[in-house]
Structure formats: C-alpha cells, structure tokens
Symmetry: C2
Subunit: 134 residues, 2 copies
C-alpha cells in the first residue's frame, strides 16, 4: 500500500526564522511562503532531491497545528505523509484492521490539491500519518 | 548543503508490534530487526521507494531513545536524517552560524556505517536533525 515518502511536516512558531534557517544555515532550496487558509497553515516547501519537508506556521483561528505548538512551543515534527495509489482502498483496508481515520473518514483535498486522510496517531505509535493519493 | 532525506526515525515502545503494523496494516516492505548495541537501539528499516523510515526500540542501558519514550510512551518521530557530501565542512559551516552539534562535535560512525552528527533540536525548531555523510 505505502508508496513514496511524500513529505515530513514540521510545525514552527515563526516561519520566517525557520525558512531562513533551512535556506541559509542548512543550504536547502525553499519556496515562497504559501498561505493555505482552508488548511489553517502557511507553508514553506523545502525541496530535497528525493522528498520534501514542509514548514508549517499556524494561520487564522482553529489552526490544526495550534494545539501542537501550545504543547511544543519550539516546534517539532508534526506528521509524515506517505503516498498511496488509491486512498479509498487504503482507507477501507486500514479500517478493516481496526485503524482509525481522523475526522469524517472521507478524504479531503490536501495542500497539494490531492485527496488526503489522516490516521489516528494512537494507532501508529504516536506518529500522525497522512496518506495522499497521487 | 542538504542532500537527500535519508530517513525519518520513529521511536516505538514495541518493535514487533510496530513492524507488524508497517508490514501488515500499511503494506510496506520491512527488514529483519537489527540490534545495534553500540547505538543502544534495535532497528527495523521500512523501505519506501524514495527513502526510508527507521523504527527504533531501546536496546540495553542508556539507550539514546529511552528518555524520549519515557516522555512519549506511545512513541513518536524522533529525528530526521539529511545527507551531506562533506560532514566536516557541513559541521564547520553550521557551527560558524551558531548552531550547536551534540556530543563531542566529532562525527561518529552511524547505523549505516557512515559518519554522522546530530544538531541541537533547540537550534532547529524542536527537530532533532542527523546529518549523514554519503
């Protein structure tokens, strides 16, 4: 089922500082900040040769990363995203094994314009897993 | 400086359960468990098409992931490893910008037999970064 490691998302309290660090200290290629109001984050993409890191800063009220940053004010790794070919088949297969899908259980359109789901971190040893259909 | 995303390491309290989950629930290719006493962990490699996830379980006394699991008993993402071409040049460049290298500051031979360093998570928004020379 699992395909490529699409990205690792890192929640940060200050996106401009984190972006400057990845660009100037770590020497990585970074995108312009992209506000995604429907996802409650502003994101900067760190482009690596084989995958991506996404730096996330809360945007607006009820940001999905606000609680994470309240608990970890310095920031930290928030989730890992794996690609799947068929997200509904993946969901049904996972649910049949007892795994819990967050929210309504229906895929939403994610930050890359593709269907995504999140799996309950309690079912995967404390790791929030995003599945993205590609 | 930053090259490929070499791996994401996930600390887990029970390696056999986590391995079975990645293999049977998530349908990924997993290695046999490999005890690495000199690193204080037993590791299972989850092979993805473009990168790796490493599932880590504490091994022996003074495991470097014991404190992490004491704080997060369910487990969680422990570190992210980026490849660099020249680890000494990378270190010197980072230290010149004020970043802190953990331990003695000298590279050690990591789990893949290559020189590695860890950067202080406080300097990188709560994320423990491993650099590996490839």
């Amino acid at each position: 089922m699992l395909g490529r490691l699409n990205h690792v998302a890192i929640a940060v309290p200050d996106l401009s500082i984190a972006t400057a660090s990845y660009r100037d200290q770590l020497g990585a290629r970074v995108s312009q900040p992209q506000p995604l109001p429907e996802h409650g984050v502003t994101v900067v993409f760190v482009e690596l040769p084989n995958s991506k890191v996404e730096l996330l800063e809360p945007l607006g009220e009820n940001s999905p990363i606000a609680a994470f940053l309240a608990k970890s004010p310095d920031g930290g790794m928030h989730h890992i995203c794996y690609e799947v070919e068929d997200i509904l088949a993946a969901r049904d297969q996972l649910v049949a094994t007892g795994a819990r899908v967050l929210g309504s259980g229906e895929p939403k359109i994610g930050a890359h314009g593709k269907p995504v789901l999140f799996l309950h971190p309690k079912d995967f040893f404390g790791t929030l897993i995003e599945l993205e259909q590609v």
